[in-house]
Symmetry: C2
Subunit: 294 residues, 2 copies
DNA sequence: TGCATCACATGCATTTACGCACGGCTCATG
DNA sequence: CATGAGCCGTGCGTAAATGCATGTGATGCA
């Protein structure tokens, strides 16, 4: 009746569907059409002789069997990721893909020349940059090396602190001058979404703060500050390198999360990773003051 | 976010090829043509950017990368097998496939009526019998339940000893009578390939033994004995149930490997497995003397 | 030295899997 | 009650994967 043999890629498909909940979602992840996901699931069910999902208008609901299958597939996925890391980690060539992830504003402010230098020095390496604040999964090898602004880089990855950081408060010269002239006047602010109010270091000097807007994106926040919507707090490296913004007078810097350079243990000795590290470390040592003082 | 991905079935194919050494061998295992194996390997090499095999006239020689890949695929395979056992182990239905493996002569001699009883009692179960002396891999679910004649059933499987056994010496009535009439006359023997000489219990009574032939197959051996090629040693259950053979007079029985009923731990509580066990155990209890005395 | 065998590559026909377009269904919204 | 957005099933044409047949080189044997 049932030849108990499962197609491994069907297992991977079932895992994606259990995770996503809908055919379209799983298809997106897998890079195929949802029609294909549907048919692979049907085939898997036929092979196993078990119903794996309840079809509902809201989506596919996994049965207990599907959860078992997904658990196995998850382990298989781990094996795949480990293998890919292992192969990349043993790669001592200076050719082929190398993927870096870093916050986009860090790249914009300072990293771009370093990237240029890297590509000049190693023209055979195909550099891929993922500029995002999202923490990509280095276990899945979504990147080979990550630069992260964080006080807690976790303990699953290996790396080092490239520099500590401090933050300052910045605004357009007009706003800065007005505030300096009359510290008790109303001072407009734009905040990053997490912050509830302007920093104490600024409030003590300019107590009449008015929050004009909150942004969930740093690029947009900076743009708002540059058109004079208000003052803002940001790491000093950003403030110093943003044209049209100056430090608020009489406001001291405050601590900020440091910058970490991280890679997976399996990849730390891969030649391309090491080569990029060898470029990063001296640069941050030389220009540390860009990140720590106004 | 897209990462470098490998087709999982290509990984399975590489594993098969590492194991088999040749395209044709791997294809045989996978149930595809060797052309397909060749192309899947090429695709995997393209995906990974590594050469996985050295093509030689004698076959495919795996590189270090291929061994890494095979190791990962082996783990994945383990997950698959565990899943299949798990799903089967949870199956509390009395429908669908149930696979039994047992020595063919045990089935021929006694088990056949039990199989009939089982299919009568559970007509929805599709019984599959693998009659072989080979030890099928119950981890891979090549069978759900195994009957094995062995003094060392191993410790990876769970089960119980159904009965102890003793062996006796048998021959055609003509040979048996001639031997009884003149114990010092030459007595012909046919041996199972492992045995170097007839059993001591027989030699002490009939010292003039002549080995006529050795066989690597029990069925063939019995056939030879039945046409009078010589006496032979075999478990008493076989001797008693083989028409045309009688015990050699004045030869005592000797110990023989017991019969074990074994299943994988994951399957021991599956309903179909339990149902078959419930048939086996009382039967062997009732007819134990068939296996222990002449 | 033929001749058979084994292992693999290549070209071609066929089967299989896939993506796309269409339609049905449900649910939230105006 | 109409409408649009999700989400899924089905049919159809196309693209990819597969199997089969054929050819090549290496090896073993009479």
């Amino acid at each position: 009746m049932h030849v108990m043999q499962v197609n491994w890629d069907d297992m991977r498909t079932v895992l994606a569907l259990v995770r996503a909940g809908t055919l379209a979602g799983a298809a997106e992840v897998l890079g195929v059409s949802y029609t294909t996901v549907s048919r692979r699931v049907q085939r898997a069910e036929g092979m196993l002789g078990h119903v794996l999902f309840e079809r509902h208008p809201e989506g596919y609901i996994p049965t207990a069997e599907a959860h078992d299958l997904a658990a196995a597939a998850k382990q298989m996925e781990q094996q795949e990721h480990q293998l890919l890391r292992q192969l990349a980690g043993q790669d001592q060539s200076l050719t082929g893909a190398f993927t870096l992830t870093a916050p986009e504003l860090l790249i914009q402010a300072h990293l771009a020349p370093l990237l240029l230098e890297f590509t000049n020095r190693y023209p055979e390496v195909e550099l891929r940059v993922k500029a995002t604040n999202d923490w990509l999964d280095l276990n899945r090898r979504e990147a080979d090396l990550a630069l992260r602004i964080s006080s807690d880089p976790g303990d699953t990855l290996v790396g080092r602190k490239l520099t500590t950081q401090r933050s300052g408060c910045f605004a357009t010269p007009e706003i800065a001058e007005r505030a300096a002239a009359d510290p008790m006047a109303v001072l407009d602010w734009v905040l990053f979404s997490e912050q509830s109010k302007p920093p104490e270091a600024a409030l003590s000097q300019y107590p009449n703060a008015r929050v004009r807007a909150r942004f969930d994106d740093m690029v947009a926040l900076v743009a708002a500050a540059r058109v004079g919507m208000g003052a803002l707090r940001m790491p000093v490296f950003l403030g110093r390198s943003t044209p049209g913004l100056v430090p608020l007078p009489q406001v001291a810097t405050t601590p900020y999360a440091p910058i970490w350079m991280l890679s997976h243990r399996d990849l730390q000795h891969a030649r391309k990773v090491a080569a990029f590290k060898d470029l990063l470390v001296p640069w941050f040592k030389q220009y540390a003051d860009l990140f720590t003082s106004l």
